[in-house]
């Protein structure tokens, strides 16, 4: 049968899902909760040492992946650290947690806290002076803290 209309490439139809919002509630676990509570109440960073390989993990977790050993040896690390790698976002991408674009520019880096073997990712201020790999940094805490990573505003260079 002959069709009465013939959509061209630009006329193909798309259907949008709408402003869907489906919040999740992630368990942080015993070790993660301990870390965030120390951070909130005492501005302390606690890591976890593996008895097998000696590696100190931040954030702490109950199992060392490479050794597959259970861990239970808390050690204090930081609060200062070293910048291992970084970027500065110039283009605003959608943050799936809010549905909004994160304001740009913003900087973030991988910070190896003193005494740790893994890194913590956090914001870096974007100012006149660009971040430099190898620079020493310290955390700047929020006055009111809620027990999440946002209790740290960012890490700044130690002058």
């Amino acid at each position: 049968m002959e069709l009465k209309s013939r959509p061209r490439r630009r006329d193909f139809i798309t259907i949008s899902s709408g402003e869907s919002f489906s919040p999740f509630h992630y368990s942080v676990g015993r070790f993660g909760s301990q870390f965030l509570t120390e951070l909130r109440d005492h501005k302390r960073f606690m890591g976890m040492r593996c008895a097998g390989c000696g590696r100190v993990y931040v954030p702490p977790r109950p199992v060392c992946g490479p050794c597959f050993k259970k861990m239970d040896d808390w050690v204090e690390v930081g609060p200062n650290g070293t910048l291992i790698a970084f970027t500065i976002l110039r283009f605003a991408f959608i943050d799936p947690e809010t549905g909004q674009k994160k304001p740009v520019p913003y900087g973030y880096g991988f910070i190896r806290l003193d005494g740790a073997d893994t890194q913590l990712q956090h914001f870096l201020p974007v100012g006149a002076k660009p971040p430099k790999i190898g620079m020493k940094v310290r955390p700047v805490f929020e006055e009111i803290r809620h027990g999440n990573l946002r209790d740290i505003r960012h890490f700044e260079e130690i002058a």
Binding site: G32, G65, T87, H122, I133, R150
Partner: protein
Amino acid sequence: MAKRVAIVGSGQTDHAGNRRDVTGCELINEAVRRALEDAQLKLSDIDGVVIGNMDHFEGINGAELWSIEGSGGIGKPTIKLTTGGTTGSTLAIGGTHLVASGFFDRLLVIGWEKNSESDTTGAITTAFDPIWDRLVFAGAISGLAVEASAYMHRYGVTEKDAARAAVRDRRHAVNNPHAHLRKEISVDDVLRSPMFSDPLKALDICPRTDGACAVIYASEDVAEKICPQPAWILATANRHLYSMVSDVDFSSLKSLELASREAYRKAGVREPLKEIGVMELYTPYSFANLSWIEALGLAKPGEGAKLIWDGVTDMGGELPMNPSGGVIATNPIGATGLIRAAECSLQIMGRAGARQVPDVKRALSTGFGGCFWSDVLIYGTEKPA
């Protein structure tokens, strides 16, 4: 004893930034029909289907169910494999394992993605740890930008070095009728393109593509009856080292170092630069074409750029890389790793058309994704012993 396994046919869609003319299911069907035609097989010859994508790009969970009319899986064992960015290479490795098991003689393996249907970066971000990784993260682009920053700092590599690698891939893509971006670019074009995430600019990074790829795997019992020159799988290897991005060791791509050494050993390769004729690498951004070829053992740490500038990896060079144009030219994410396998099989069969590298005896493909995970496959013209 595992059966020997070969690729005997493949099909790719007309990859594009937006294929609004087809649903995901229809896109899959386009690749499947082409693969069956390529291998001169009927759907009834196929005894199992393996399919993969990243569900969160389309927001259709259970895409293996929803796409079954297109995939040809009705009435057949249908298995889904999905591992993030490595989905396509996991499909390539999983297909090998399933046929090697002896349970399947002719297996249809499909990777696909319809990246136009969502915000790719937003979707990628949901693949990462919600408690520790997501606060600062902005998808693959920011994660790779961070890797590039460490690499540049360590070796003094420049944005211009990386740009040359992007230029190579885009030049090669001109020869590939399936490629998404088929326009040549210059080093200056790359350097002048908008900065997205320091030091990565728009032309340093892969596009988001709608596309599907289907590959037919056959066991040693039937492969040579289907295809005069099957692409034998000589080795597969993978390494998944981390759960969290914050754990990644940026001193090199360790997962690729380890996986490639295992693959070389299994395939009896001692000097990859000399013994492998072509590589199709899952290098989703320009700097990966420098630092990850070091991880593959092709150059000393910090010296990957020299190979690129000397033309060693160009068409006509000693070891051409990404004759298809690679990931920088085409990136339907769940298909991307499998396209590398399909392209290697075409090179082995001598059927790659304008992008054919002469006289390929061995080819190597990689997959990258997850949390800096790596997959490696090696293919050959000769049936393994």
